[in-house]
Symmetry: C2
Subunit: 337 residues, 2 copies
C-alpha cells in the first residue's frame, strides 16, 4: 500500500510537507505541490480515510439504516441521500435491517463503530432500548416511522391525515364496508394509519367494523393474504402501504375480480405501474422526494454543529400525502357484482 511516507522518500521531502501539499491544509510552494502530486499519481497513492478519520476525530461517512432496500420507498431515500453526500464529499454507508430488532441494533452499532458523522434510521417494530445510547452519539434522525422510545429528530408523513382522506373519499362515494390492509400497530405508521381510518368513520358518525382491519408485517405476502378472503358485503379495499398494495394488487389481479366493477380499490405509494393498473389506481401518494431531500439537508447541516447549539431542539417534521383519485374507485351502487 502506497503511503505518504513513500511519496516523501520518492520526492526527498518530509511526510509533513507531503501531507500539506496534497491537501489544502497548510502552506506549500506551488513547485512542491506539483512535484508531490506528480509522484502521488505516479505511485497510485490514495489516502487512507481510516487514518484521516482517526487523526481528525471525525469521519466523512454518513449512514442510512432501512428495513428493505428493494422497497422503492427506501431506495428513493437512499438515492437522494447518496447524492447529497456525494455533493459534499461524504461517503454513504447503507445498512439493511429486514425489520429485525437485533439486526437493527447491530447495524446501528456498526455505524457508531465506523464513527459516522451522522445517521438516519427507519426504525422497525420493537426497537431495542439500547438504540438510545447509540442514537445520541452523532446527529441522528428517524425517518418515516418513529419509535416512541427515541426522542430524536423525525421526518415523516402525516399518515393519519392520508388515511382519513382516503377513507372519507370512499365513504363519500357511499361505501360502508371497507377492508383495510395495514401494517400492525407495532410499526408506528401502522398505528397512525389505522387511526386515520377510524377517524374518518367517526367524523361521518359511522361505526367501523373492526373485523375488516387486517394487519401484519408490511410485506407483499401480507397484502396478498389480506385480500385472500373478502366478506361478501365488502365493497372497497384500502391497501395502506407500498408492499401491501403490491400484494393486494397481485392477488386481486389473479382472482379475476373486476375493479372497480366488483370492488373499489385504494392503494399507496409511488410505483409507476399504479398509474396504469385498471386504468389508473386511486392512491395515497406520500411526497417521498421532499421527505428525503429535507431530511438529508437537515441531517447534513447538523454535522459539525454538535455543541454549537447548546441543546438543539428536537425537529419533527411531517409531510402531507396527496390523494390521487384514479379509475379504481367508484360508488358501490354502480358495482355490477
Amino acid at each position: 500500500m502506497v503511503t505518504i511516507k513513500d511519496i516523501a522518500e520518492e520526492t526527498g521531502l518530509s511526510p509533513a510537507t507531503v501531507a500539506r501539499a496534497l491537501g489544502d491544509n497548510g502552506p506549500a510552494r506551488p513547485e512542491t505541490r506539483r512535484k508531490v502530486r506528480e509522484a502521488a499519481d505516479r505511485l497510485g497513492y490514495v489516502a487512507s480515510s481510516a487514518a484521516r478519520s482517526m487523526r481528525r476525530q471525525s469521519s466523512n461517512m454518513v449512514g442510512l439504516v432501512v428495513p428493505d432496500i428493494t422497497n422503492r420507498f427506501y431506495s428513493e431515500m437512499a438515492r437522494i441521500m447518496a447524492a447529497a453526500c456525494d455533493a459534499r464529499g461524504l461517503h454513504f454507508l447503507l445498512a439493511v435491517t429486514d425489520d429485525d430488532p437485533n439486526r437493527e441494533l447491530q447495524q446501528m452499532r456498526a455505524m457508531v463503530a465506523a464513527r459516522v458523522a451522522a445517521v438516519a434510521l427507519v426504525p422497525g417494530p420493537d426497537t431495542r432500548l439500547e438504540l438510545n445510547a447509540l442514537a445520541i452519539r452523532q446527529p441522528f434522525t428517524q425517518l418515516v416511522r418513529r419509535s416512541r422510545e427515541l426522542p430524536t429528530d423525525w421526518f415523516g408523513f402525516d399518515e393519519e391525515e392520508g388515511l382519513r382522506q382516503a377513507t372519507e373519499h370512499l365513504l363519500d362515494l357511499g361505501h360502508r364496508h371497507i377492508l383495510l390492509a395495514c401494517s400492525a400497530d407495532r410499526y408506528s405508521t401502522g398505528g397512525a394509519r389505522q387511526k386515520g381510518f377510524r377517524e374518518a368513520y367517526a367524523r361521518r358518525g359511522l361505526a367501523v367494523d373492526a373485523d375488516l382491519i387486517r394487519t401484519g408485517a408490511p410485506l407483499v405476502s401480507s397484502g396478498r393474504s389480506a385480500v385472500a378472503d373478502i366478506p361478501s358485503h365488502v365493497t372497497a379495499i384500502i391497501a395502506a402501504g407500498t408492499m401491501l398494495t403490491e400484494g393486494a394488487a397481485d392477488a386481486l389481479s389473479r382472482s379475476g375480480r373486476r375493479i372497480p366493477g366488483d370492488i373499489s380499490f385504494v392503494g399507496f405509494g409511488l410505483e409507476r405501474w399504479h398509474t396504469w393498473w385498471h386504468g389508473g389506481m386511486t392512491r395515497i401518494v406520500p411526497p417521498v422526494d421532499f421527505l428525503a431531500a429535507a431530511s438529508a439537508e437537515h441531517l447534513l447541516a447538523r454535522i459539525g454543529q454538535i455543541g454549537s447549539d447548546p441543546l438543539p431542539e428536537v425537529v419533527e417534521k411531517s409531510y402531507r400525502s396527496n390523494l390521487s383519485v384514479g379509475q379504481t374507485t367508484r360508488s358501490p351502487a354502480s358495482h355490477t357484482g
Copy 2:
C-alpha cells in the same frame, strides 16, 4: 469518546488486557472478561473500526457501486450482498454513479480510500481508464455490464441468448417488423442484446430493419420515446431493459393501444406488475438472485486470499435468462388493427 484506555483505567487493567478480553484475540481469565465487558457496557464503549482497520491493515467493509439504486435490478443485488456481508460481520458500503464516468471514478476512489476488503461494480458507459489501477487493489468483480478495458472477474447474464430467444419467439409467431428498444452500444449489455436480436433474424434468414432498433440510455424516458412514434408496419415491440420496459409500458398504456390486439409486446425484468400487465407480460427474466448470490459468495471468498493463489484466474460467469411467455404476444395475423 470512550476508548479502551478508559476501560483500562476503570477496571485497573492494562489496555492490552482489555483488548484481549473484549475480542477473542488472546488469553484472558473468564473473571477478567466479565469485569471488562461489564465496564465496557456501562461506559457505552464501541470499538473504533478505523483504528482496528489501520492496525490490522485490512478493513471489514465491502463495497458495491451501482448506477441507480432505485432500479430493482440493483437494489436486489444490494439486498443480497448486504445480507451476505451481515452474515460475516462485514460492513456494506454503497455508492451510486448515475452512469456518470467521473462519479464512477470518484466512487471507486472512495472505496479504495476506505480500504474496502472487496468491491463489486456495475460499470457505466465510457469507463475511465484510471479505474484499472483502482480495481486491482482488492478483490474486484464487475456485475452485469462489463467494461472491456477492465480484465477482471465478471458475473452477468447471457444477454445475447436472451434477446435471441425473445426475437425468435416473435419471428416464429410470424412477426416480421419488430421494434427494439435497447440500451446503446456503449453499455456492454446494449451491444450484446442488439447482437442477439440481429442473430435471431440471421438464423431465420431474414433481414433486420435497422431503423427499428432504437437505442439510448437505460432510462424510463428512453423507453417512452422509443415507442412514441411507431411505424404502421410494426407488429411487435421488444423492450430490452428494466427501465425501458417501464417507460414503454407507460407510454403504451397511455396511448390506448390494445395489447396484444394492436401490437405484441416483450418486456424485460422481474417486476411483479409484469405478471398482471395486460394479463401477464411476455418477458425476458434474468436470474438476478442467482447472480447476486453467486457473485457475493465469490467476492467474499476472495477476501483474504490475495496472493494465496499466485495468480487467480479471471472468473467469468454468465447466467441464462428465461423467456416467460405470457399474454402480450400473439401471431400478427390475429391482430385486430
